[in-house]
Symmetry: C2
Subunit: 360 residues, 2 copies
């Protein structure tokens, strides 16, 4: 069995009260005593039983995700993972909720952040566009004792905050590499379609993309980013124009997370099968188009990993621990038709997780 506080008190030659004072940083302990207790901790390998501590403290972890309101399907899967994780961790005294605020309105995000009090919420994971107001609000929340992690899209300087999400420069570079290799020496131009180039993540993806293309694929010319501003009719319009004015488009990179309207317009104004097309995030549309061969690859981040990682980081911070960086690195996934996980299972059609049946 793991040693308890009683074992620790005995080992250190002090009383339980003193052990308690040391472990919980209460005042009134001489340095010498403190050192003696800490030495005993190391000697017997004492680890505080977090469950018991939480129980005694009547502590529950309350975390909030602050998300944009837009109807991205990516966002929908994030939300469903949040709900799932909430259910899975409820028995561990972790409560996870989410709020959606109007995106692109820093004031509103900042206001939503400012309203959150330490006695309601222990930590928040925030997915918000880069903005000084948001940064300030995050800092103020931190000063109120609320733990803050940046979720998916980060602020310019991440220093004081943990970041959970992918390296967008690398994601763009990955897209560039795939387009370069998949176009097999053909020469031509590459269409780049983005929702907006004001968001930090879009800029980074573009930079990474261009870096690879210019370095290794001189046969490809990446065109200036077309901005759709999330408007389907505008999307259709700019893409029609692009195909009308360019006659040698060999590849398309859709770098925003809402690929649907762009993909539809591409299919309307060109033959998608003769181009290499790469988009971001796993959604119904990208899944289907990967499956039927319209899309050649999808660069994705796993919403489940994102959510669980953010929760682990918030829990660690709430307990005063440092999260394991190695564990919390979010992978840039490359999805092809083959590794989508949609095929029949290898051993027939048996589910990989057996259904419940053996509880006694």
């Amino acid at each position: 069995m793991s040693p308890t506080t009683r074992d620790l008190a005995r080992e250190a030659g002090v009383s339980l009260a003193t052990v308690d004072r040391v472990l919980n940083g209460r005042p009134g302990v001489r340095q010498a005593t403190l050192d003696a207790v800490m030495a005993a901790v190391d000697r017997i390998g004492f680890v505080r039983n977090q469950s018991a501590a939480n129980l005694a403290r009547r502590r529950i972890y309350r975390f909030q995700f602050l998300l944009p309101r837009s109807g991205h399907e990516f966002l929908a899967s994030v939300i469903s993972r949040i709900t799932e994780t909430h259910a899975a961790l409820q028995a561990d005294s972790v409560q996870i909720g989410y709020r959606q605020v109007l995106e692109n309105d820093p004031h509103q995000i900042s206001a939503a952040l400012s309203v959150i009090e330490h006695d309601e919420v222990d930590g928040i994971a925030i997915m918000a566009p880069e903005s000084p107001q948001v940064r300030d609000a995050m800092l103020r929340a931190k000063n109120r004792g609320i733990h803050v992690v940046q979720f998916v899209s980060g602020q310019q300087d991440v220093r004081p905050f943990d970041f959970v999400g992918v390296d967008n420069h690398a994601a763009g570079a990955t897209a560039g590499r795939l387009i370069g290799r998949f176009t097999r020496d053909r020469s031509g131009s590459v269409l780049v379609i983005s929702e907006t180039m004001t968001a930090l993540d879009s800029v980074e993806r573009r930079l990474g993309f261009d870096a690879v293309l210019t370095a290794d694929y001189p046969n490809l010319v990446a065109l200036p980013s077309l901005e759709t501003h999330g408007d389907p009719s505008r999307t259709r319009h700019v893409i029609r124009n692009a195909y009308a004015s360019q006659n040698n488009i060999v590849a398309v990179y859709v770098l925003s997370s809402e690929a649907g309207p762009a993909l539809a317009a591409i299919a309307e104004f060109s033959d998608p099968t003769v181009q290499v097309i790469i988009a971001h995030e796993r959604t119904q549309i990208t899944e289907r188009q990967l499956w039927d061969g319209t899309l050649d690859a999808v660069i994705a981040q796993d919403p489940g990993h994102l959510v669980r990682s953010a929760v682990r980081v918030l829990r660690a911070r709430s307990d005063g621990r440092t999260p394991l960086a190695s564990q919390e690195k979010i992978r840039i996934e490359i999805l092809l038709k083959e590794n989508l996980g949609l095929e029949a299972c290898p051993f027939g059609l048996v589910p990989r997780i057996a259904p419940a049946e053996d509880q006694r």
Copy 2:
């Protein structure tokens, strides 16, 4: 606050003792009373506080990983993730250990399994080659009340056991697709190098690989698998012979998880840069060769995800819950130079997880 057993007792109009009998399946409760309590559970959304329950039960979760002994670097990273996860979950009363047994000796694996008693270990994650003896030992362990998950490599019929690992058929298909696309219409033969074709996972990878190549890339001919049996000198030998007898090798697929010796031999007897080379698992060697361009892609499964997923499944089973299949699906990762995560961070050289500093 979450409702407690007292709330539940009040809501159901029974005593705490009866609630306890119902929740813990003790005898001596009328059906009508049982139904009333369950109805109250649903009505107020009672969820048992697992931490408190474990504390009262003096319960700790003791899980064991049963691994092969071979010196694969992949295995080494699995072990280091186990150690890491053990440390991370110690405060949650989860103890995780591992044992290594001689691989390819079903009797030894079976013996190791049979020795494990329910009062020492609550669950095991087993990574073992396909074999009837192992299957039987797994079934016997299950009957002794030990939860068993198959880890990374599964048995022929997974029905009664959970499986944590990738779909190897799909992994092979993914490799096939990448080789097909990366060879850009060149014609020639493809070398396939495997440790042994008796392991189920190797067979499945090969099948998936061939399926894609024959369906979509008639210009490529996959040669019969070269078996190395994990012996570096034999590896060198068979690969030398292959290059001597074949003069038009355009791609190589190394499908076993120990790619080092094979990659060294390829470099020795051919020019790796003119071939498309794909290997499995992220190791120092594959990382380095991806980085310098020798390797074109790596198909990998994340050891950290594997370990954490196995532990989550075992915990769920131990608590009598059903693991969330959606959460436990292990992704087939495609690694290129660009998405290895080795580059400088996008915002300068700032770590994504901030170092500890804000504990009060």
